[in-house]
Symmetry: C2
Subunit: 302 residues, 2 copies
């Protein structure tokens, strides 16, 4: 391999935070990464990353070198893929990190369509609900559902993400149907773990905001699981429409306090700032933004 490949290995080590993680992400042995890095340092006559056992840190020279070569690597990628894409069908790999529920239920079919349009592309999907640092982990982009976008990254909104409260008919028959937000305090909930999911602000039809206590009998970090528990009558759930839409349509769940509204989130594709975005990645983002848009099909079905 060559000079630019050595540089790319170095960049990966820096962004991954270590040789072992870089090796995992690059799919090569850590001995190979170690050797490539050592040879780059030898060629430059200076240490780029100071390593002790179990830690590695950029030196001052390494930091400067990293800033400079990052631009060069992007330029080469841009020059070559712009030329290639002018002449050819899209090829290459796209690494995406997406939340589990959204990924399984919505991105799957969408990716299927996209790949049919661009059969020479390869998609590498990471489905999980953990927070992903796309630079550190070497992703092209990630889907994030949130209110605020991180200022250090670029984001493209692809659709709104509304929430509704719902419960099973059996549960409501047993516990009664809440008429006002205050009534909620007499009920049980299944809620998301972590963060501040248990503390929701609900806005009633008159525009008044409420902050009801919602005692959780079941807590989990997975929306599909919570949906199952709600359908089984274990409590009411506040959940995204993109999760609950089919259960509502089937009558397995019934919307509660439908005139009230919950804080609205958005789904964004995020990608690294100041980094060349290959055309195939841009096309995928455009494709998804168009496919979902401001009134996605699951909201239209309600």
């Amino acid at each position: 391999m060559g000079q630019l490949e050595d540089i790319q290995v170095f960049i990966r080590v820096v962004e991954a935070g270590g040789i072992s993680r870089a090796a995992d992400q690059l799919g090569i042995a850590k001995s190979a990464v170690s050797r490539r890095l050592s040879e780059l340092e030898k060629r430059l006559g200076t240490r780029l990353i100071s390593r002790t056992t179990r830690t590695s840190n950029l030196t001052e020279a390494g930091r400067s070198y990293y800033q400079q070569v990052l631009k060069v690597v992007d330029q080469v990628a841009e020059i070559e893929s712009e030329l290639h894409d002018t002449e050819c069908a899209l090829t290459g790999n796209i690494r995406i990190a997406v939340p589990l529920s959204f990924g399984l239920q919505h991105l799957g079919p969408a990716i299927d369509l996209f790949i049919k349009q661009h059969p020479q592309l390869r998609i590498d999907m990471d489905l999980s609900d953990r927070h992903v640092d796309i630079v550190e982990e070497g992703f092209d982009l990630a889907l994030r559902i949130s209110e605020l976008k991180d200022s250090s990254i670029q984001a493209r909104k692809i659709c709104p993400c509304h929430h509704v409260m719902a419960a099973s008919p059996d549960y409501l028959a047993q516990m009664g149907v809440p008429q006002t937000p205050k009534d909620l305090e007499q009920h049980r909930f299944v809620t998301y773990s972590g963060g501040q999911s248990g503390q929701w602000v609900i806005t009633d039809a008159g525009g008044k905001r409420h902050n009801p206590t919602m005692p959780a009998s079941i807590v989990a970090n997975n929306g599909d699981f919570l949906l199952q528990m709600a359908c089984a009558g274990h409590g009411m759930v506040v959940t995204p429409t993109f999760i609950v839409w089919k259960s509502l349509a089937a009558g397995d769940l019934v919307q509660v306090l439908p005139d009230c509204s919950w804080p609205s989130l958005n789904a964004y594709f995020i990608y690294p700032r100041n980094r060349y975005l290959p055309r195939r990645v841009r096309l995928l983002i455009d494709f998804m933004a168009e496919r979902y848009g401001d009134r996605p099909y699951w909201d239209q079905a309600m």
Copy 2:
């Protein structure tokens, strides 16, 4: 090898004007160059150089690609050699094309000193009097002795290049010593072949310009040879001081019409415009400019 090395091979093919010459300059087999170029074109999905048997021409895509990657290759070279040179003794290669006479008599000792100061450098010297296209032939720089500098290249003057007229004592005893430029028409000359060397403009002490006919009994393209012929009494010679200085000092030749002057040329180092000049090359140019300067040692000895 890698992506950047493929690009460097491509650049060399473009600038050399063909795969065979590029292979010669790179020191690898033309089959290897052919294969590298083909693989680069395959990766980009487009033809960069259209080849028929015995000719090759840049395509439109190739021209654009060449312009863009040239900058990138320079940037990488700059980033890495600036970092390297900050930390280390100078290393690397310098390829220089120099005129034969000047190279043998003056650059040799100078290079010897320079290499003693920077022992890890490697000098690749091409000595000839032919016109060298430094970009096409892959030189870092060339020494050129001329009046005008080519506008498409960068030049750094390293010293003036004065000419004098001289003849052997025997010749002058036999033929008489010319007193005025007009007297020259009664004499024989040994002169440079090609160009307009046989048509000199001499300026007398009063500032008047003369254009004497100087019949040549011996013509050659090498100044050292002409010096020998002049010392042997075959005629008078107009020659650079850097060639004739020792023969004058030794009494083998005597200056003729010393109050007159000849068009003054300069010695320049020339190097490619818009191309990163490694520090080692810049240091060599500085070294030579300082070593010779406005009154080089051979002019001081006269």
